[in-house]
């Protein structure tokens, strides 16, 4: 086990990343080790990026521990680039996070300056040229080679003809140099795509009352709906963000099955979402920014709003499905979708009802036949024992299930369902997967079971018997 990162106190004691944990423990016996959780770290970084949404919409992640913000045109509320940087540092320091920050003309320059700048410089260009070659983040071999060749800073490297550098270290190194120096464009890929509609309110005095915050959300919803109406669209996914003054962001997202411009419906869905939160909304010291985004919008013409007869019923059912999906979760409100397989437990899928249903055809049963499939299916099938039959591979005459003995009065079968060999890797030569012989059984009392024997007698020594389902 290796050390992934260590705190300044540990670094002062001589520990460094990539050291073996055992060696580190030998040097510092009372070392506290915490498991490295890269996914949790990434989520933490994403939460920070969310919080930086208050400064600029274009925030890019620079994993594992960096963020790049495009602050072009966003600095005036804060009084300049420097003031913005200081404010970010102070705000994160309140949450116990140490920050190194720097501004640059291009994203790569800013990154390199924030990570590697050690000495002060009169201006940005000079600062970049004074960066060590490690700021180019080439592999170790290349960096050592550059050091041995006497090229210690980026400025030294930039003075050399770039063709030579390309010949020795490859085109990637040259691209990096040019990007850091600002000679080549390096686009910033922001994490959040600017949503089509956005309405927000900033407060000079943070809002500490949740009910007032929700009223504000109602007003923002009205504004957003007006904007949607002008664009002839309806929203399908709405996200409300409440930015607390201490940096935390509360995010609520709802979605609807059909595009909607109805403020009452949307607010009702938000209320359902708030009711289903594990903890009530905690404003802390107050919200200083409340924002509503329409993340997904679709065309919704005025003609679609003119409803009569069956269309009204459909819309009402869709609204009900949205409400229940928001309250219980999308996976709890579902519709059946057929699948083309003869394995019974796989013959259907339950998909969220909030998604538009594709018309699908269910297999039609034959006229004049009784039901051949049960209404209730057990997952997994329930084992039965004490099965008595007159021939070894014949149908059961008597069986015991859930501690009750059932005497068979009527029986139909076997219906043989074999495993689907075409889905297995070896194809027709596949081994494994037992054939099932299904029987429709009715006992003396009138209860009807769907029972199968798992495996033929030449496939398996002792085939098991199971109840798979119950008929009406």
């Amino acid at each position: 086990m290796r050390i992934a990162a260590c705190c300044p106190a540990a670094a002062a004691l001589g520990l460094a990343p990539d050291m073996m944990l055992a060696d580190a423990r030998a040097r510092v016996p009372d070392l506290i080790g915490v498991a490295h959780a890269p996914y949790a770290d990434h989520e933490w970084l994403e939460a920070l990026a969310d919080g930086c949404g208050r400064y600029t919409p274009a925030v890019a992640l620079d994993p594992p521990d960096g963020l790049v913000l495009d602050i072009a045109g966003c600095t005036h509320p804060f009084g300049g680039e420097r003031a913005l940087g200081v404010e970010i540092e102070a705000r994160l320091a309140r949450r116990g996070i140490l920050v190194r920050w720097a501004c640059g003309e291009t994203p790569d320059a800013a990154r390199a300056l924030s990570r590697f700048q050690t000495a002060a410089a009169p201006d940005e260009d000079a600062a970049i040229r004074r960066l060590p070659v490690a700021a180019l983040e080439l592999d170790d071999e290349a960096t050592t080679a550059l050091g041995r060749a006497g090229l210690k800073t980026v400025g030294d490297l930039a003075a050399r003809p770039l063709a030579m550098i390309a010949a020795r270290f490859g085109g990637a190194a040259v691209t990096r140099i040019r990007r850091i120096l600002g000679e080549e464009e390096s686009p910033l890929i922001p994490r959040v795509i600017a949503p089509p509609m956005r309405a927000e309110r900033r407060f000079a005095e943070p809002v500490a009352r949740t009910d007032f915050a929700l009223e504000v959300l109602g007003e923002l919803a009205g504004e957003a709906m007006n904007a949607l109406a002008q664009a002839g669209e309806g929203g399908r996914r709405f996200e409300a963000r409440f930015f607390r003054s201490d940096g935390q962001v509360l995010r609520l997202a709802i979605e609807t099955g059909q595009p909607s411009r109805d403020v009452k419906v949307i607010l009702r869905l938000f209320r359902e979402r708030i009711d289903s939160l594990a903890d009530p909304i905690d404003p802390g010291f107050g919200f200083d920014l409340i924002r509503l985004d329409v993340a997904v919008a679709e065309p919704l013409g005025a003609s679609q709003l003119k409803l009569e007869g069956g269309a009204v019923a459909e819309v009402e059912v869709a609204v009900l499905i949205d409400r229940l999906s928001t309250r219980l979760g999308r996976g709890r409100v579902r519709r059946f979708v057929p699948r083309d397989t003869h394995i019974p437990e796989q013959a259907e899928l339950l998909l969220p009802a909030a998604e538009a249903a594709k018309p699908a055809a269910w297999p039609e049963p034959e006229a004049g036949e009784p039901p051949l499939r049960p209404i209730h299916l057990f997952d997994p099938p329930q084992p039965i024992d004490h099965v008595v039959s007159d021939t070894p591979d014949g149908p059961p005459l008597r069986f015991r299930w859930r501690r009750t003995l059932h005497e068979v009065a009527r029986m139909e079968g076997p219906e043989r369902i074999a495993p689907e060999w075409w889905r297995r890797r070896e194809g027709a030569n596949a081994k494994g997967g037992l054939t099932r012989d299904y029987y429709r059984i009715e006992d003396v009392r009138g209860r009807r079971f769907w029972i199968f024997r798992h495996g033929l007698y030449d496939e398996v020594e002792q085939p098991g018997w199971y109840v798979h389902g119950l008929f009406a």
Binding site: V312, A313, E314, V315, E316, V317, V319, L320, I321, R323, L324, R327, L328, R332, V333, R334, R335, F336, P338, P344, A347, E348, L350, A353, A357, A360, W362, P363, E364, P365, A367, G368, P370, P371, L372, R373, P374, I375, H376, L377, F378, D379, T404, A409, R410, M411, E412, R440, I441, E442, V444, R445, G446, R447, R448, G469, L470, F471, A472
Partner: protein
Amino acid sequence: MNILAPDSRLWATAGRLAELGQGAGARIPGFGAAALDGAVVGRLPVAALHEIHAAADDAASGAAFALLLAVHALDDGRPILWVRERKSTRALGHIHAPGLAELGVAPARLIHVEADDAVATLRVAADAARCAGLGAVVIEPWGDPPALDLTATRRLMLATQASGVMGVLLRIEARASPSAAQSRWQVRAAPSLALEAEAPGLPAFDVCLLRQRGGIAGIEARLEWNRDEAQFRAQGAGAPLSGAVFPLAADRTAAHPSTA
């Protein structure tokens, strides 16, 4: 003139008043069994709450009867919402869509909602009962939840009457408790008429109408469901009886409604 003659105006007015007292709207059609139809035809409104009890052993029959009652009562293909408590799915098994198709119910009609506990189930039921776009809502709580009391059933009853949705409350292995439902049924699985080679035949149910608001009760019948004609009928009957049996004795009870 004999005022009790079937063609007298008084008789017709009494019939209309009885219908108004029971609530306007569509009625559940007959089942094809003489004794049961006498008590039920023209009396059970579709837009009301109906309660179905079944033992745990007959859970599949109870569930099927609940669904088929809704399908039998609704004449168009409106959607049916089935809300189950999670414990029901664990104990009784999943609803199998090919099985629904085999009973003649289009699986695409069903909206399947799973709720965590009884209170959540009843909340979903209350919301669904107010949605006029649905045809029916089948509510399946587990056991005897304390939340399902007279107030809850009365709220459901009012909601279904206002919106026109049919409510079917399916109670598996539950004790009979005071309820404001319009009718209460007990369902058991019954032996079917064998097809050739002793094969199990059409699904058969022993139903008993335990209680009916403003009507007689305690009627039993053995019904079977014919998928091809989408109708109930008495087991063994060749063709279903027409529902136009004029119930003399039942009308007298309606004139003096019994406290159900």
